[in-house]
Protein backbone atom coordinates (compact mmCIF):
# COMPACT_ATOMS: atom_id res chain seq x y z
CA UNK A 1 0.00 0.00 0.00
CA UNK A 2 2.72 2.40 1.10
CA UNK A 3 4.92 1.57 -1.85
CA UNK A 4 2.12 1.73 -4.38
CA UNK A 5 1.22 5.20 -3.11
CA UNK A 6 4.84 6.20 -3.40
CA UNK A 7 5.04 4.74 -6.88
CA UNK A 8 1.94 6.69 -7.88
CA UNK A 9 3.40 9.93 -6.52
CA UNK A 10 6.62 9.17 -8.32
CA UNK A 11 4.77 8.51 -11.54
CA UNK A 12 2.93 11.79 -11.26
CA UNK A 13 6.22 13.59 -10.63
CA UNK A 14 7.88 11.94 -13.61
CA UNK A 15 4.98 12.73 -15.87
CA UNK A 16 4.85 16.32 -14.66
CA UNK A 17 8.59 16.87 -14.96
CA UNK A 18 9.25 14.79 -18.04
CA UNK A 19 6.27 15.62 -20.19
CA UNK A 20 4.93 18.92 -18.95
CA UNK A 21 6.44 22.32 -19.57
CA UNK A 22 7.35 23.16 -15.98
CA UNK A 23 8.72 20.46 -13.76
CA UNK A 24 11.37 22.16 -11.67
CA UNK A 25 10.19 20.95 -8.29
CA UNK A 26 12.91 19.37 -6.14
CA UNK A 27 11.32 17.74 -3.12
CA UNK A 28 13.72 16.11 -0.67
CA UNK A 29 14.02 12.38 -0.24
CA UNK A 30 13.24 11.58 3.37
CA UNK A 31 11.28 8.39 2.91
CA UNK A 32 7.71 7.94 4.01
CA UNK A 33 5.20 8.85 1.37
CA UNK A 34 7.02 11.90 0.04
CA UNK A 35 7.96 11.96 -3.61
CA UNK A 36 11.62 11.21 -4.31
CA UNK A 37 14.06 13.97 -5.19
CA UNK A 38 14.41 14.93 -8.85
CA UNK A 39 17.56 12.82 -9.19
CA UNK A 40 16.26 9.66 -7.52
CA UNK A 41 14.68 6.63 -9.19
CA UNK A 42 13.15 3.95 -6.98
CA UNK A 43 14.56 0.44 -7.51
CA UNK A 44 12.59 -2.64 -6.61
CA UNK A 45 14.42 -5.94 -6.58
CA UNK A 46 11.68 -8.45 -7.44
CA UNK A 47 9.15 -5.84 -6.32
CA UNK A 48 6.35 -3.75 -7.75
CA UNK A 49 8.39 -2.25 -10.62
CA UNK A 50 9.12 -5.73 -11.97
CA UNK A 51 6.42 -7.21 -14.20
CA UNK A 52 5.15 -10.58 -12.93
CA UNK A 53 4.91 -11.83 -16.51
CA UNK A 54 8.67 -11.52 -17.09
CA UNK A 55 9.92 -12.24 -13.57
CA UNK A 56 8.87 -15.80 -12.72
CA UNK A 57 11.83 -17.76 -11.29
CA UNK A 58 14.09 -14.73 -11.95
CA UNK A 59 16.05 -14.15 -8.73
CA UNK A 60 17.74 -10.85 -7.82
CA UNK A 61 16.07 -8.81 -10.57
CA UNK A 62 16.52 -5.02 -10.06
CA UNK A 63 13.77 -3.04 -11.79
CA UNK A 64 13.29 0.66 -12.41
CA UNK A 65 10.71 2.73 -14.23
CA UNK A 66 11.60 5.17 -17.00
CA UNK A 67 9.59 7.51 -19.21
CA UNK A 68 10.19 7.84 -22.94
CA UNK A 69 8.66 10.52 -25.13
CA UNK A 70 8.35 11.22 -28.81
CA UNK A 71 11.31 13.57 -29.30
CA UNK A 72 10.44 17.21 -28.59
CA UNK A 73 6.85 16.45 -27.65
CA UNK A 74 4.85 15.76 -24.50
CA UNK A 75 3.61 12.43 -25.81
CA UNK A 76 5.20 10.05 -23.36
CA UNK A 77 4.91 6.59 -21.90
CA UNK A 78 6.12 5.43 -18.51
CA UNK A 79 7.50 1.91 -18.64
CA UNK A 80 8.20 -0.35 -15.67
CA UNK A 81 10.12 -3.60 -15.68
CA UNK A 82 13.32 -1.97 -16.93
CA UNK A 83 16.38 -3.95 -15.76
CA UNK A 84 18.88 -1.72 -13.97
CA UNK A 85 22.20 -2.71 -15.51
CA UNK A 86 25.55 -1.24 -14.48
CA UNK A 87 27.19 -3.78 -16.81
CA UNK A 88 26.06 -2.17 -20.07
CA UNK A 89 25.62 1.22 -21.66
CA UNK A 90 22.41 2.66 -23.09
CA UNK A 91 18.66 2.25 -22.93
CA UNK A 92 16.92 -0.58 -24.80
CA UNK A 93 13.19 -1.25 -24.81
CA UNK A 94 11.21 -3.99 -26.50
CA UNK A 95 9.05 -2.62 -29.30
CA UNK A 96 6.24 -4.85 -28.08
CA UNK A 97 5.82 -2.84 -24.87
CA UNK A 98 5.61 0.56 -26.60
CA UNK A 99 2.15 2.07 -26.87
CA UNK A 100 0.73 3.02 -30.27
CA UNK A 101 1.21 6.72 -29.38
CA UNK A 102 4.96 6.32 -29.28
CA UNK A 103 6.69 7.11 -32.55
CA UNK A 104 10.42 7.58 -32.20
CA UNK A 105 12.79 9.05 -34.77
CA UNK A 106 14.78 6.48 -36.74
CA UNK A 107 18.53 7.23 -36.87
CA UNK A 108 19.74 7.17 -40.48
CA UNK A 109 22.83 5.34 -41.65
CA UNK A 110 23.77 6.38 -45.16
CA UNK A 111 20.65 5.75 -47.21
CA UNK A 112 19.45 3.14 -44.74
CA UNK A 113 18.30 2.81 -41.14
CA UNK A 114 20.73 2.22 -38.31
CA UNK A 115 20.20 -1.08 -36.48
CA UNK A 116 22.17 -2.92 -33.88
CA UNK A 117 23.02 -6.35 -32.53
CA UNK A 118 23.79 -5.48 -28.91
CA UNK A 119 25.71 -8.27 -27.20
CA UNK A 120 25.81 -8.99 -23.48
CA UNK A 121 27.80 -12.18 -23.02
CA UNK A 122 25.17 -14.88 -22.85
CA UNK A 123 22.48 -13.04 -24.83
CA UNK A 124 21.94 -10.40 -27.51
CA UNK A 125 19.30 -7.93 -28.70
CA UNK A 126 18.47 -6.94 -32.30
CA UNK A 127 16.61 -3.84 -33.43
CA UNK A 128 16.78 -0.30 -34.80
CA UNK A 129 18.48 2.69 -33.19
CA UNK A 130 15.99 5.52 -32.67
CA UNK A 131 16.02 8.92 -30.99
CA UNK A 132 13.80 9.12 -27.93
CA UNK A 133 13.09 11.71 -25.28
CA UNK A 134 14.18 10.00 -22.08
CA UNK A 135 13.01 11.21 -18.67
CA UNK A 136 14.86 9.77 -15.67
CA UNK A 137 13.26 10.57 -12.30
CA UNK A 138 12.46 14.28 -12.28
CA UNK A 139 15.37 15.26 -14.51
CA UNK A 140 14.72 17.29 -17.67
CA UNK A 141 13.88 15.09 -20.65
CA UNK A 142 16.94 14.47 -22.84
CA UNK A 143 16.98 13.23 -26.43
CA UNK A 144 19.17 10.14 -26.73
CA UNK A 145 19.67 7.31 -29.26
CA UNK A 146 18.15 4.16 -27.77
CA UNK A 147 17.68 0.66 -29.15
CA UNK A 148 14.15 -0.48 -29.88
CA UNK A 149 14.45 -4.24 -29.45
CA UNK A 150 12.63 -5.85 -32.36
CA UNK A 151 13.72 -9.31 -33.50
CA UNK A 152 11.72 -8.90 -36.72
CA UNK A 153 13.28 -5.58 -37.76
CA UNK A 154 14.34 -5.48 -41.42
CA UNK A 155 12.92 -8.98 -41.73
CA UNK A 156 16.22 -10.47 -40.79
CA UNK A 157 15.82 -13.75 -39.08
CA UNK A 158 17.33 -13.73 -35.62
CA UNK A 159 16.67 -17.43 -35.38
CA UNK A 160 19.62 -19.64 -34.69
CA UNK A 161 20.24 -19.98 -38.43
CA UNK A 162 20.77 -16.27 -39.01
CA UNK A 163 24.23 -14.89 -39.62
CA UNK A 164 23.23 -11.52 -38.08
CA UNK A 165 22.51 -11.68 -34.35
CA UNK A 166 21.70 -15.41 -34.20
CA UNK A 167 19.73 -16.35 -31.10
CA UNK A 168 18.74 -12.73 -30.26
CA UNK A 169 16.03 -12.36 -27.60
CA UNK A 170 12.54 -12.81 -29.04
CA UNK A 171 10.45 -10.97 -26.43
CA UNK A 172 10.15 -9.70 -22.87
CA UNK A 173 8.95 -12.98 -21.38
CA UNK A 174 11.89 -15.07 -22.59
CA UNK A 175 14.38 -12.25 -21.99
CA UNK A 176 13.06 -11.57 -18.49
CA UNK A 177 12.59 -7.80 -18.84
CA UNK A 178 10.73 -5.15 -20.85
CA UNK A 179 13.90 -3.13 -21.33
CA UNK A 180 17.41 -2.54 -20.03
CA UNK A 181 18.78 0.70 -18.60
CA UNK A 182 22.56 0.51 -19.08
CA UNK A 183 24.16 2.98 -16.69
CA UNK A 184 27.65 1.52 -16.41
CA UNK A 185 30.99 3.32 -16.43
CA UNK A 186 31.22 3.95 -20.19
CA UNK A 187 29.31 6.41 -22.39
CA UNK A 188 28.55 4.39 -25.54
CA UNK A 189 27.85 0.74 -26.17
CA UNK A 190 30.60 0.36 -28.77
CA UNK A 191 32.86 3.41 -28.75
CA UNK A 192 35.67 4.39 -31.09
CA UNK A 193 36.08 0.99 -32.79
CA UNK A 194 32.62 1.36 -34.35
CA UNK A 195 33.52 4.86 -35.55
CA UNK A 196 36.43 3.58 -37.65
CA UNK A 197 35.36 0.04 -38.61
CA UNK A 198 32.26 -1.19 -40.40
CA UNK A 199 32.84 -4.88 -39.65
CA UNK A 200 32.58 -4.98 -35.85
CA UNK A 201 29.37 -7.01 -35.94
CA UNK A 202 27.38 -4.58 -33.77
CA UNK A 203 26.03 -1.82 -36.03
CA UNK A 204 24.27 -2.37 -39.37
CA UNK A 205 22.73 -0.17 -42.02
CA UNK A 206 19.46 -1.69 -43.21
CA UNK A 207 17.67 -0.99 -46.49
CA UNK A 208 14.48 -2.99 -46.65
CA UNK A 209 15.56 -6.45 -45.61
CA UNK A 210 19.21 -6.02 -46.54
CA UNK A 211 21.54 -5.16 -43.68
CA UNK A 212 25.27 -4.63 -43.90
CA UNK A 213 27.88 -3.60 -41.35
CA UNK A 214 28.45 0.11 -41.00
CA UNK A 215 30.59 2.68 -39.22
CA UNK A 216 28.75 4.83 -36.67
CA UNK A 217 29.81 8.13 -35.11
CA UNK A 218 29.88 8.26 -31.32
CA UNK A 219 26.86 10.57 -31.16
CA UNK A 220 24.66 8.11 -33.09
CA UNK A 221 25.62 5.10 -30.99
CA UNK A 222 23.27 3.91 -28.28
CA UNK A 223 24.52 5.54 -25.13
CA UNK A 224 24.27 5.93 -21.41
CA UNK A 225 21.43 8.45 -20.96
CA UNK A 226 22.84 9.67 -17.63
CA UNK A 227 25.78 11.24 -19.49
CA UNK A 228 23.25 13.39 -21.40
CA UNK A 229 21.64 15.02 -18.38
CA UNK A 230 22.24 18.77 -18.03
CA UNK A 231 23.53 18.16 -14.50
CA UNK A 232 23.83 15.00 -12.36
CA UNK A 233 25.61 13.55 -15.41
CA UNK A 234 28.87 12.20 -13.98
CA UNK A 235 27.55 8.87 -12.75
CA UNK A 236 25.07 7.14 -10.51
CA UNK A 237 24.85 5.60 -7.06
CA UNK A 238 23.06 2.30 -6.56
CA UNK A 239 21.80 2.05 -2.99
CA UNK A 240 20.32 -1.27 -1.90
CA UNK A 241 19.77 -2.50 1.66
CA UNK A 242 21.25 -5.57 3.30
CA UNK A 243 19.42 -8.85 2.81
CA UNK A 244 19.08 -11.49 5.59
CA UNK A 245 21.16 -14.64 5.07
CA UNK A 246 18.08 -16.71 4.23
CA UNK A 247 16.89 -14.16 1.65
CA UNK A 248 13.93 -11.88 1.24
CA UNK A 249 10.84 -11.82 -1.03
CA UNK A 250 11.82 -8.38 -2.41
CA UNK A 251 13.78 -5.29 -1.42
CA UNK A 252 13.53 -1.61 -2.30
CA UNK A 253 16.37 0.79 -2.96
CA UNK A 254 17.22 3.85 -4.99
CA UNK A 255 19.26 4.86 -8.02
CA UNK A 256 20.68 8.34 -7.39
CA UNK A 257 21.74 10.33 -10.47
CA UNK A 258 24.96 12.31 -10.20
CA UNK A 259 27.91 12.05 -7.81
CA UNK A 260 28.51 15.04 -5.54
CA UNK A 261 26.14 17.20 -7.55
CA UNK A 262 23.40 17.52 -4.91
CA UNK A 263 23.08 17.15 -1.18
CA UNK A 264 21.78 13.60 -1.58
CA UNK A 265 24.74 12.22 -3.55
CA UNK A 266 27.85 13.45 -1.76
CA UNK A 267 30.32 10.58 -1.36
CA UNK A 268 32.07 9.94 1.92
CA UNK A 269 34.25 7.12 3.19
CA UNK A 270 34.42 5.21 -0.11
CA UNK A 271 37.40 3.92 -2.10
CA UNK A 272 37.64 4.58 -5.84
CA UNK A 273 38.60 1.70 -8.14
CA UNK A 274 39.34 2.96 -11.64
CA UNK A 275 38.43 0.53 -14.40
CA UNK A 276 40.22 -0.18 -17.66
CA UNK A 277 38.78 0.73 -21.07
CA UNK A 278 36.44 -2.29 -20.85
CA UNK A 279 34.95 -1.28 -17.50
CA UNK A 280 36.88 -4.00 -15.66
CA UNK A 281 38.83 -3.94 -12.39
CA UNK A 282 40.94 -6.73 -10.84
CA UNK A 283 39.88 -9.33 -8.27
CA UNK A 284 42.23 -11.74 -6.52
CA UNK A 285 40.73 -14.76 -4.77
CA UNK A 286 43.00 -17.25 -2.99
CA UNK A 287 45.93 -16.54 -5.27
CA UNK A 288 43.94 -16.54 -8.51
CA UNK A 289 43.73 -13.23 -10.39
CA UNK A 290 40.58 -12.39 -12.36
CA UNK A 291 39.37 -9.45 -14.44
CA UNK A 292 36.16 -8.36 -12.75
CA UNK A 293 33.00 -6.33 -13.17
CA UNK A 294 30.56 -4.94 -10.61
CA UNK A 295 27.36 -5.64 -12.43
CA UNK A 296 23.82 -5.08 -11.17
CA UNK A 297 22.49 -6.95 -14.21
CA UNK A 298 24.00 -10.26 -13.09
CA UNK A 299 21.90 -12.01 -10.48
CA UNK A 300 24.65 -13.83 -8.60
CA UNK A 301 28.38 -13.92 -7.88
CA UNK A 302 29.85 -15.79 -10.85
CA UNK A 303 33.45 -17.03 -11.06
CA UNK A 304 35.61 -20.10 -11.48
CA UNK A 305 36.29 -21.45 -7.97
CA UNK A 306 40.00 -21.09 -7.21
CA UNK A 307 40.22 -24.74 -6.18
CA UNK A 308 38.11 -27.71 -7.16
CA UNK A 309 35.79 -29.03 -4.46
CA UNK A 310 35.59 -25.67 -2.65
CA UNK A 311 32.26 -24.74 -4.21
CA UNK A 312 30.58 -27.76 -5.81
CA UNK A 313 27.87 -27.20 -8.41
CA UNK A 314 24.31 -28.08 -7.44
CA UNK A 315 23.21 -31.48 -8.70
CA UNK A 316 19.91 -30.19 -10.07
CA UNK A 317 21.04 -26.64 -10.93
CA UNK A 318 24.62 -27.12 -12.15
CA UNK A 319 25.11 -23.44 -12.98
CA UNK A 320 24.80 -22.56 -9.26
CA UNK A 321 26.97 -23.44 -6.24
CA UNK A 322 25.73 -25.82 -3.56
CA UNK A 323 28.35 -26.02 -0.79
CA UNK A 324 27.19 -28.29 2.05
CA UNK A 325 27.34 -25.30 4.38
CA UNK A 326 27.58 -21.56 3.76
CA UNK A 327 31.15 -20.74 2.78
CA UNK A 328 32.73 -17.39 3.65
CA UNK A 329 35.50 -16.20 1.35
CA UNK A 330 37.78 -13.22 1.27
CA UNK A 331 38.82 -11.59 -1.99
CA UNK A 332 40.80 -8.51 -2.85
CA UNK A 333 39.52 -5.94 -5.32
CA UNK A 334 42.04 -3.70 -7.05
CA UNK A 335 41.81 -0.81 -9.44
CA UNK A 336 42.69 -1.77 -13.02
CA UNK A 337 46.19 -0.34 -12.54
CA UNK A 338 46.76 -2.58 -9.50
CA UNK A 339 45.88 0.02 -6.86
CA UNK A 340 44.17 0.79 -4.62
CA UNK A 341 43.20 -2.55 -3.14
CA UNK A 342 40.57 -3.48 -0.61
CA UNK A 343 39.37 -6.69 1.00
CA UNK A 344 35.89 -8.03 0.32
CA UNK A 345 34.27 -10.70 2.46
CA UNK A 346 31.44 -12.59 0.84
CA UNK A 347 29.44 -15.68 1.46
CA UNK A 348 28.19 -18.41 -0.87
CA UNK A 349 25.28 -20.43 0.48
CA UNK A 350 23.67 -23.59 -0.80
CA UNK A 351 21.50 -22.50 -3.73
CA UNK A 352 19.12 -25.44 -3.57
CA UNK A 353 18.44 -24.95 0.15
CA UNK A 354 18.16 -21.15 -0.07
CA UNK A 355 15.76 -21.21 -3.00
CA UNK A 356 13.54 -23.90 -1.49
CA UNK A 357 11.72 -21.02 0.25
CA UNK A 358 9.58 -18.53 -1.64
CA UNK A 359 12.24 -15.83 -1.23
CA UNK A 360 13.55 -14.27 -4.45
CA UNK A 361 16.35 -11.97 -3.27
CA UNK A 362 19.64 -13.36 -1.94
CA UNK A 363 22.98 -11.83 -0.99
CA UNK A 364 24.79 -15.16 -0.98
CA UNK A 365 24.13 -17.04 -4.22
CA UNK A 366 26.74 -17.72 -6.87
CA UNK A 367 27.70 -20.03 -9.65
CA UNK A 368 30.56 -21.19 -11.77
CA UNK A 369 31.65 -19.41 -14.88
CA UNK A 370 34.43 -20.11 -17.40
CA UNK A 371 37.86 -18.84 -16.40
CA UNK A 372 39.15 -15.29 -16.32
CA UNK A 373 36.18 -13.14 -15.29
CA UNK A 374 34.87 -12.54 -11.77
CA UNK A 375 31.33 -11.17 -11.99
CA UNK A 376 30.31 -9.31 -8.83
CA UNK A 377 26.60 -9.37 -9.51
CA UNK A 378 23.70 -7.97 -7.55
CA UNK A 379 24.54 -9.79 -4.25
CA UNK A 380 27.61 -7.50 -4.01
CA UNK A 381 25.29 -4.46 -4.02
CA UNK A 382 23.25 -5.44 -0.98
CA UNK A 383 24.21 -3.37 2.05
CA UNK A 384 26.54 -1.15 0.00
CA UNK A 385 26.24 2.13 -1.85
CA UNK A 386 28.04 1.59 -5.16
CA UNK A 387 29.22 4.67 -7.06
CA UNK A 388 29.50 4.26 -10.84
CA UNK A 389 31.62 7.04 -12.39
CA UNK A 390 31.17 7.63 -16.12
CA UNK A 391 34.26 7.90 -18.34
CA UNK A 392 35.67 11.40 -18.94
CA UNK A 393 33.61 12.93 -16.15
CA UNK A 394 34.89 13.85 -12.73
CA UNK A 395 33.72 14.09 -9.15
CA UNK A 396 35.42 14.28 -5.79
CA UNK A 397 36.06 10.54 -6.30
CA UNK A 398 38.24 11.14 -9.38
CA UNK A 399 37.82 10.86 -13.13
CA UNK A 400 35.76 8.06 -14.64
CA UNK A 401 35.57 5.29 -15.53
CA UNK A 402 35.49 4.01 -11.95
CA UNK A 403 33.51 2.11 -9.35
CA UNK A 404 33.65 3.31 -5.75
CA UNK A 405 32.20 1.81 -2.58
Amino acid sequence: MKSSKRALLFLILVLAAGCGSGGSSTPSVTGGNEAPASNVLPITVNGSLCSPSTSAFYLNKPCVSITICNPGTSTCQTINDILLDTGSFGLRIFKSVLSSDISLTQVASGSGSLAECAQFGGFSEWGPVQLAGVALAGEPTVTVPIQVIDPTFANISTSSTSTICPGADQGPVSAGFSGILGVGVLSQDCGSDCVTNSNIGIYYSCNGSTCSGTKVGLSSQVQNPVAFLPSDNNGVIVELPSVPSNGSPSVNGILVLGIGTKTNNVPSGVTTYNTDIFGEIITILTGTTYSSIIDSGSNGLFFTPPSTGLLPNCASNPTWFCPSSATTLSAENEGASGSPSGEVFFQIGNFDILTSSSNMVFSNIGGSSPPGLFDWGLPFYFGRNIFVGIQNTSSSLGTGPYFAY
Binding site: Y58, G87, G121, G122, S160, G167, S291, F302, T319
Partner: protein, 152 residues
Protein backbone atom coordinates in the same frame (compact mmCIF):
# COMPACT_ATOMS: atom_id res chain seq x y z
CA UNK B 1 50.88 -34.92 -46.57
CA UNK B 2 48.26 -32.62 -45.09
CA UNK B 3 49.78 -32.97 -41.64
CA UNK B 4 53.22 -32.17 -42.98
CA UNK B 5 51.92 -29.11 -44.76
CA UNK B 6 50.22 -28.06 -41.60
CA UNK B 7 53.32 -28.38 -39.46
CA UNK B 8 55.21 -26.44 -42.08
CA UNK B 9 52.53 -23.79 -42.07
CA UNK B 10 52.62 -23.47 -38.28
CA UNK B 11 56.38 -23.31 -38.35
CA UNK B 12 56.34 -20.36 -40.66
CA UNK B 13 53.21 -18.89 -39.16
CA UNK B 14 54.96 -16.10 -37.33
CA UNK B 15 56.61 -14.94 -40.52
CA UNK B 16 53.35 -14.63 -42.41
CA UNK B 17 52.23 -11.25 -41.22
CA UNK B 18 49.09 -9.44 -42.41
CA UNK B 19 47.48 -12.49 -43.96
CA UNK B 20 43.81 -13.27 -43.72
CA UNK B 21 43.72 -16.42 -41.70
CA UNK B 22 41.17 -18.70 -40.10
CA UNK B 23 40.96 -22.29 -39.01
CA UNK B 24 37.97 -24.44 -38.24
CA UNK B 25 37.08 -26.49 -35.18
CA UNK B 26 37.75 -30.18 -35.61
CA UNK B 27 39.64 -29.74 -38.85
CA UNK B 28 43.35 -29.66 -39.46
CA UNK B 29 45.17 -26.41 -38.96
CA UNK B 30 45.58 -26.02 -42.71
CA UNK B 31 41.92 -25.00 -42.84
CA UNK B 32 43.67 -21.72 -42.08
CA UNK B 33 44.65 -21.47 -45.72
CA UNK B 34 41.48 -22.76 -47.31
CA UNK B 35 39.21 -20.51 -45.29
CA UNK B 36 41.34 -17.44 -45.00
CA UNK B 37 39.11 -15.35 -47.21
CA UNK B 38 36.18 -15.96 -44.91
CA UNK B 39 36.86 -13.42 -42.22
CA UNK B 40 39.00 -10.31 -42.24
CA UNK B 41 41.69 -11.22 -39.78
CA UNK B 42 45.43 -11.16 -39.53
CA UNK B 43 47.69 -13.68 -37.89
CA UNK B 44 48.77 -12.88 -34.36
CA UNK B 45 51.19 -14.69 -32.11
CA UNK B 46 51.72 -18.44 -32.09
CA UNK B 47 52.63 -19.86 -28.68
CA UNK B 48 53.70 -23.37 -27.81
CA UNK B 49 52.33 -25.00 -24.65
CA UNK B 50 52.69 -28.47 -23.15
CA UNK B 51 50.48 -30.65 -25.30
CA UNK B 52 49.21 -28.04 -27.77
CA UNK B 53 49.91 -24.89 -29.75
CA UNK B 54 47.84 -21.69 -29.66
CA UNK B 55 47.54 -19.68 -32.82
CA UNK B 56 46.02 -16.23 -32.48
CA UNK B 57 44.16 -14.39 -35.24
CA UNK B 58 43.07 -10.80 -34.85
CA UNK B 59 40.25 -8.93 -36.60
CA UNK B 60 38.90 -5.44 -35.92
CA UNK B 61 36.18 -6.84 -33.67
CA UNK B 62 37.63 -9.86 -31.98
CA UNK B 63 40.77 -11.86 -31.18
CA UNK B 64 40.40 -15.58 -31.77
CA UNK B 65 42.79 -18.16 -30.29
CA UNK B 66 42.91 -21.59 -31.88
CA UNK B 67 44.08 -24.56 -29.87
CA UNK B 68 45.88 -27.07 -32.06
CA UNK B 69 46.85 -30.57 -30.96
CA UNK B 70 50.26 -32.11 -31.74
CA UNK B 71 48.56 -34.01 -34.58
CA UNK B 72 47.49 -30.70 -36.13
CA UNK B 73 43.78 -30.75 -35.30
CA UNK B 74 41.96 -27.68 -33.95
CA UNK B 75 40.36 -29.03 -30.74
CA UNK B 76 39.25 -25.71 -29.29
CA UNK B 77 38.82 -22.05 -30.05
CA UNK B 78 38.46 -19.13 -27.66
CA UNK B 79 37.78 -15.49 -28.32
CA UNK B 80 37.35 -12.08 -26.76
CA UNK B 81 36.37 -8.73 -28.19
CA UNK B 82 33.55 -6.36 -29.01
CA UNK B 83 31.37 -9.03 -30.61
CA UNK B 84 31.19 -12.76 -31.03
CA UNK B 85 32.85 -14.10 -34.17
CA UNK B 86 30.74 -15.80 -36.84
CA UNK B 87 30.49 -19.27 -35.36
CA UNK B 88 29.08 -20.66 -38.60
CA UNK B 89 32.60 -20.37 -39.96
CA UNK B 90 34.59 -21.28 -36.89
CA UNK B 91 32.53 -24.33 -35.95
CA UNK B 92 32.72 -25.72 -39.48
CA UNK B 93 31.34 -29.24 -39.57
CA UNK B 94 29.70 -28.73 -36.17
CA UNK B 95 27.80 -25.53 -36.97
CA UNK B 96 24.61 -27.40 -37.91
CA UNK B 97 24.32 -29.24 -34.63
CA UNK B 98 25.28 -26.06 -32.76
CA UNK B 99 22.42 -24.12 -34.34
CA UNK B 100 19.98 -26.86 -33.56
CA UNK B 101 21.11 -26.97 -29.93
CA UNK B 102 21.04 -23.16 -29.71
CA UNK B 103 17.37 -23.22 -30.65
CA UNK B 104 16.60 -25.79 -27.97
CA UNK B 105 18.59 -24.33 -25.08
CA UNK B 106 16.52 -22.09 -22.79
CA UNK B 107 17.77 -18.57 -22.05
CA UNK B 108 19.34 -18.18 -18.59
CA UNK B 109 17.96 -14.92 -17.22
CA UNK B 110 20.21 -12.80 -15.03
CA UNK B 111 23.33 -14.45 -16.45
CA UNK B 112 25.96 -13.12 -18.81
CA UNK B 113 26.77 -16.70 -19.66
CA UNK B 114 25.36 -19.26 -22.02
CA UNK B 115 26.38 -22.84 -22.58
CA UNK B 116 25.31 -24.86 -25.58
CA UNK B 117 26.12 -28.58 -25.60
CA UNK B 118 25.69 -30.78 -28.62
CA UNK B 119 26.57 -34.42 -29.12
CA UNK B 120 30.12 -33.44 -30.05
CA UNK B 121 30.93 -29.90 -28.95
CA UNK B 122 30.49 -27.37 -26.13
CA UNK B 123 30.07 -23.64 -26.91
CA UNK B 124 30.20 -21.14 -24.07
CA UNK B 125 29.78 -17.37 -24.19
CA UNK B 126 30.32 -15.02 -21.29
CA UNK B 127 31.70 -11.57 -20.50
CA UNK B 128 29.93 -8.27 -20.93
CA UNK B 129 29.32 -5.42 -23.38
CA UNK B 130 32.72 -4.15 -24.71
CA UNK B 131 34.55 -7.32 -23.71
CA UNK B 132 32.69 -10.46 -24.73
CA UNK B 133 34.38 -13.79 -24.25
CA UNK B 134 33.69 -17.26 -25.51
CA UNK B 135 35.07 -20.68 -26.31
CA UNK B 136 34.11 -23.76 -28.24
CA UNK B 137 35.73 -27.14 -27.98
CA UNK B 138 35.40 -30.77 -28.96
CA UNK B 139 35.79 -32.73 -25.70
CA UNK B 140 36.78 -35.91 -27.53
CA UNK B 141 39.62 -34.14 -29.33
CA UNK B 142 41.25 -32.50 -26.30
CA UNK B 143 44.72 -34.03 -26.01
CA UNK B 144 45.50 -36.13 -22.96
CA UNK B 145 46.83 -34.05 -20.07
CA UNK B 146 45.20 -30.83 -21.30
CA UNK B 147 42.30 -29.44 -19.23
CA UNK B 148 39.25 -27.63 -20.56
CA UNK B 149 40.08 -24.49 -18.61
CA UNK B 150 43.29 -24.06 -20.56
CA UNK B 151 40.99 -23.06 -23.43
CA UNK B 152 40.35 -19.45 -22.51
Amino acid sequence: MKRKLCALFLGFGLLMAAQQVHATLGETADSVTTDRKAISAVRGATTVHTGYTVQEIVSDAVTVREYISPSGVVFGIAWNGLSSPDLTLLLGFYSGEYRKALQQTPRMRGRRFSQIKTDHIVVEKWGHMRNLRGRAYVPSLIPQGVTVDEIK
